[in-house]
């Protein structure tokens, strides 16, 4: 167990290092000189030198990377070229919105997946399974920004049940987040439901389930502890991937619903070529994904000790 944990931490650290390399690479991939691209060729030498220093573009590449890494580890993500605000401050203001949205989206997905997964895993009806397969294919392929716009149009604009744009502090923020969280949760819920259905079906063939039936365990206990719990590991192992996908759809959904989250911040940074903003948000996104992968793998191993160990 401890050894597995050490291996997983090592891999997480390695990927985190990869994240820093990717964030570092973005500015270096700019064709030509990024500083001149930003400032134009009329810029004063002082301004050029200052920006070059701010973007860690001085000296040979390894030296640049070292300077970049020390700053990041010190918690200094630089300042936005457009607003002059420290990137970390703005991320601190916008991240809660994105985390709320992603958290609610995942909660929605789980609320959809649990009943569907258990039902699909326990049923013998081929018609239900075929119908679920088609419906889930449709829902998974449906683009979140189209479903988001449809929800916005029907619930927000036509029915006027929920606000169409803006944000407020908790608990009012739930009214702003309900629609984007639903748009985000639907496809992920279907992905979870498929995996859960498959593993519930596999679990139901296990001898311990048969033994539970023979012992005459109460139905609730049988379903929750003998059927669902041993089936959760693959779903939780998938959580890392789903959170990554949810963060990616958060980037689009925040624009659809005008939410002041990190995604909106990132997109604005990209369009304005605000490199410190892009670097900083990319790094934070990447670290979150790595951390979630790590936690998901660890929890999956804890729930089902068979994961990752030879049987």
């Amino acid at each position: 167990m401890i050894q597995k944990l050490r291996q997983r931490s090592l891999r997480a650290l390695l990927v985190a290092w990869g994240v820093s390399l990717t964030a570092f690479a973005v500015v270096r991939l700019v064709p030509g000189d990024p500083v001149l691209t930003l400032l134009g060729d009329q810029a004063t030498p002082e301004a050029v030198a200052q920006l070059r220093r701010a973007l860690h573009l001085e000296g040979p590449l390894p030296e640049q990377y070292l300077a970049f890494l020390t700053d990041i580890l010190r918690g200094d993500l630089g300042a936005s070229i457009v607003t002059r605000q420290p990137v970390l401050t703005t991320i601190g203001q916008t991240l809660p919105v994105t985390l709320w949205l992603t958290g609610l989206g995942i909660a929605t997905a789980i609320a959809i997946a649990l009943p569907l997964g258990v039902l699909g895993g326990a049923t013998a009806s081929a018609t239900y399974l075929r119908a679920f397969r088609v419906v889930s294919s449709v829902v998974i392929a449906f683009p979140v920004f189209v479903s988001g716009l449809v929800l916005l149009l029907v619930v927000g604009v036509q029915l006027r049940w929920l606000p169409v744009a803006g944000y407020a502090a908790f608990p009012d923020n739930l009214r702003y987040l309900a629609l984007p969280a639903l748009a985000m949760g639907l496809p992920n819920g279907m992905i979870f439901a498929r995996i859960l259905q498959q593993s519930v079906r596999e679990t139901s063939r296990e001898e311990f389930v048969e033994a539970g039936i023979v012992w005459g365990l109460p139905r609730r206990e049988l379903v929750l502890n003998y059927l669902v719990r041993p089936s959760l590991a693959p779903t939780i192992g998938l959580m890392g991937y789903v959170v990554g996908a949810s963060l990616a759809s958060a980037v689009i959904l925040e624009t659809v619903f005008n939410l002041p989250g990190v995604g909106t911040f990132l997109v604005r940074g990209v369009l304005a070529r605000d490199y410190p903003v892009v670097q900083g948000t990319l790094f934070v996104f990447g670290i979150i994904v790595v951390a979630v992968h790590f936690v998901a793998d660890t929890v999956a191993a804890w729930i089902d000790p068979r994961v990752g160990s030879p049987l």
Binding site: V15, G18, V19, T22, A23, V26, V27, L29, V30, P31, A124, A126, L129, R130, R133, V134, S137, V138, I140, A141, F142, P143, F145, V146, L149, V150, L152, L153, V157, R201, G244, A245, L247, A248, S249, V251, I252, T255, V256, L266, V267, G269, V270, L271, R273, Y275, V278, L282, F285, G286, V289, V290, H293
Partner: protein, 286 residues
Amino acid sequence: MNLPGGPLSGRLAAWWNGMPPRVRTGLVIVGCLVALSLVIPLLSPYDPQRGTGTDPLSPPSVPHLLGTDHLGRDVFVRTFVAARLDLLLAAVGVSLPLVVGTLVGSTIGSTRSRLVQYLGEVAIEGINAFPTLIVVIALIAAFGPGANSILVALFLTAWARYAKVARGRALTIRDIGYLHVARGLGYRWPRILAVHVAPNVFPTTISYAVSDFVIVILAIAGLSFLGAGVQPPTPEWGAMMSEGRLYLAQAWWLALAPGILLSITAVAVSLIASGRTEDAFTQSAR
């Protein structure tokens, strides 16, 4: 019904009948979309780029089946001109990484050099660890917005998905006799790769490419929707939705017409892709 080996029409019919209904549905929808996107711009009296003289933001009517946009342009013809661009960009966006990723993955999966195996695995896993859309957005920050940037950025991330699939497939054939024979005969690496490994790997990656098409077309439209891809006034589904979003309350058809066509495309292609796993799935259900 003719069995395989009969006349071409018979073999086609057998192939068609042998497919699950949902795959046939998907193929019919995609076929119709392609045909309509080719024909409608030719038949339509309107220029997709110019105002038609009708009032801006008019609702759907007989001369303008999907109404007009904020500049008085015909939404119907624009949506189908956009279909050409989106399908073409997605096809290019899928085929380049398909070829490169398959060759790289086949190499990594069938080589006997530990170093190549290890480095390849690290590169593939490293790139696949990130959510595609976020990496692509970051790359667009470097290259600047535009269709070409999107294709390059998609390529830089997508090849690793194909390489992963290809590597897995190549590993299963690595130790089969004929590869040993080919090596023993002293054939050079490119020949072994091209003649013995890749032909066995391509069927697997091509079938993966069908589901990857959905990821790619949604990324292209999604990025254009964010303003990072194809720019207005070029008719493209994501860019049209981005423009139409501003008029959602007055003229919902602006954003929804391209959105629904995009969704139909994505769903139809994923129906085709889902056919591969259908048989195993329903069998295990019984």
